[in-house]
């Protein structure tokens, strides 16, 4: 698509993934994934388990190395450096710097259990960004208020419900002021009655113009918040489109089958 008119388009793209391939041993998990996400857009990625959705998301912030292809976030190549026509893996420090710009919310929250909710949120700003502690605390308090947890600032994750933990995790990711926010099935590990509170926070973020890539099976969220849908199957994106079109008139047989199963 816009790979041909390169630079100008890449400047407006939050994510530009091109023909990303990844294998674990003999299993090829990503078989050439390309995806473009303009700034401010929310894209929902759906697909059966094992189709490579999570792996793709983890490749975007280089938690997984890729075997070929390239991933650019805001025009910067992720995880690799161009060298003599090929790509060489970047230094740990510069990869870390890139990751700081990309938020990731995990399925299992992964809050730091030895820190309070506030401690979780200020940790990276203070230690990575070297923000002054008082400033970081002030911002963290605002973020916790934004996800509806102002009163839980001094509570340890072990004492929070799943939904509350996930909201703290979102606040933690937001504290780094990321330009791109990734969600890896953020509600799959939650009890049904807690899903709504997390989706509500995510919807608000989408409306505020945060660029998000969300791997999810929550179709109500996708309908309301997503600008675009992408269907993955067997290591490829097989169909893309706006939610209306995607849900009402999917073109691909595989998409029809998948939607009929989960809707």
């Amino acid at each position: 698509m816009s790979a041909t008119n390169g630079r100008s388009a890449a400047g407006e793209l939050a994510l530009h993934a091109l023909d990303v391939r990844k294998r674990f041993g003999r299993l090829e998990v990503l078989k050439g994934v390309s995806l473009e996400v303009p700034r401010g857009e929310t894209v929902c990625v759906i697909g059966p388990s094992g189709s490579g959705k999570s792996t793709f998301l983890r490749c975007i912030n280089h938690l997984e190395k890729i075997d070929s292809g390239r991933i650019e976030v805001n025009g910067h190549l992720i995880g690799y450096r161009e060298r003599k026509g090929g790509l060489a893996e970047d230094s740990e420090r510069s990869i870390a710097r890139q990751r700081a710009e990309i938020g990731l919310v995990f399925q299992r929250f992964n809050l730091f259990p030895h820190m309070t909710a506030l401690g979780n949120v200020i940790e990276a700003p203070v230690r990575v960004r070297k923000t002054r502690r008082e400033d970081a605390v002030k911002e963290a308090e605002e973020l916790l208020a934004r996800v509806g947890l102002a009163d839980k600032r001094d509570v340890y994750p072990g004492k929070l419900s799943g939904g509350q933990q996930q909201r703290v995790a979102i606040a933690r990711a937001l504290a780094m002021k990321p330009s791109l926010l990734l969600f890896d099935e953020p509600t799959s590990a939650l009890d049904p009655e807690m899903i709504g509170e997390v989706l509500q926070v995510m919807k608000e973020l989408a409306l505020e113009g945060m660029t998000m890539i969300v791997v999810t099976h929550e179709m109500s969220f996708a309908r309301e918040a997503a600008v675009r849908m992408a269907m993955m199957d067997d290591g490829r994106i097989i169909e893309e489109g706006p939610p209306q079109h995607f849900f009402d008139a999917p073109e691909h047989e595989r998409t029809k089958l998948f939607l009929s199963k989960i809707l």
Partner: protein
């Protein structure tokens, strides 16, 4: 049997416990500082070896593995002899001078050799304990830290080690308990510590039962005192309001086997 009991000099026994002489106090102090210093060295070496084990550089991994293999696989008394006499036996010079000055503290060369030997030996055990502690931390913790832009060094220091510490401290406490008693082996290279003190009195008075029983009580006092400190440390570490939080006395009971039976009976 009870003839021996009649000849037990209770007065001497209690005197050794309640009115120890100056030489004894020195021996007690020697035992304590050797155990503490050797344990500190052991923890540091254990940490270094644990991180060498996960190094990208193969020789470091091999070295770490060989270290554990050799020092866990041979008797500590042999290691003590090799450290203290080894240089003399193989190379013809004394590695350790008569006294060693460590800042304000001047200690006998043999005691210093003992600290080195016990510290190196302890490091091999500590590597395994620290490794298990680090391995017990969920991979997601490191991933979360990295996704926030932390380098692995920062993530290890801020996220992994503080959590691993909770897993490491209970076995570390047991190691130190055992260290307090293992120092007695240093009597064999002439360190004047608790066991040596008892041994010297025995050989001049031929009253082994009194002296050895008294010194056993002192070791028991040391290890019991330590178990109280350990319980306190473990409580401090479990700040994160876990459901299975134990009280101070429950931890003491856990640490001290006879009391454990009593605590469960409650």
């Amino acid at each position: 049997m009870w003839v021996a009991a009649i000849h037990f000099d209770w007065h001497l026994f209690f005197q050794r416990i309640f009115h120890p002489d100056h030489a004894f106090a020195r021996a007690l102090w020697t035992t304590v500082y050797i155990a503490v210093a050797a344990q500190v060295i052991g923890v540091v070496l254990g940490l270094v070896a644990a991180f060498m084990r996960t190094s990208r550089f193969l020789p470091l991994r091999v070295l770490s593995g060989a270290y554990v293999l050799v020092f866990r696989g041979t008797p500590v008394i042999v290691q003590i002899f090799f450290v203290y006499f080894g240089a003399n036996l193989f190379l013809g010079f004394n590695l350790f001078p008569r006294t060693v000055s460590l800042g304000p503290l001047t200690i006998p060369g043999a005691a210093f050799a003992g600290i080195v030997a016990l510290g190196i030996n302890e490091g091999a055990y500590m590597r395994e304990i620290i490794r298990a502690g680090i391995d017990s931390i969920d991979r997601g913790q490191l991933e979360a830290a990295r996704s926030l832009g932390m380098t692995s060094r920062l993530a290890t220091r801020r996220i992994v080690l503080p959590q691993a510490a909770r897993v490491i401290v209970p076995p570390l406490g047991n190691e130190f308990n055992s260290m307090l008693k293992t120092t007695s082996l240093l009597a064999f290279i002439g360190v004047y510590e608790l066991f040596q003190d008892a041994d010297i009195h025995y050989s001049t008075t031929f009253k082994p039962a009194e002296y050895f029983a008294a010194v056993a009580c002192w070791y028991l006092l040391l290890t019991t005192g330590w178990s109280l400190i350990q319980a306190w440390i473990e409580r401090r570490l479990s700040v994160s309001d876990r459901a299975d939080r134990l009280s101070f006395w429950e931890r003491v009971a856990e640490a001290w086997a006879p009391a454990q039976v009593w605590a469960r009976g409650r």
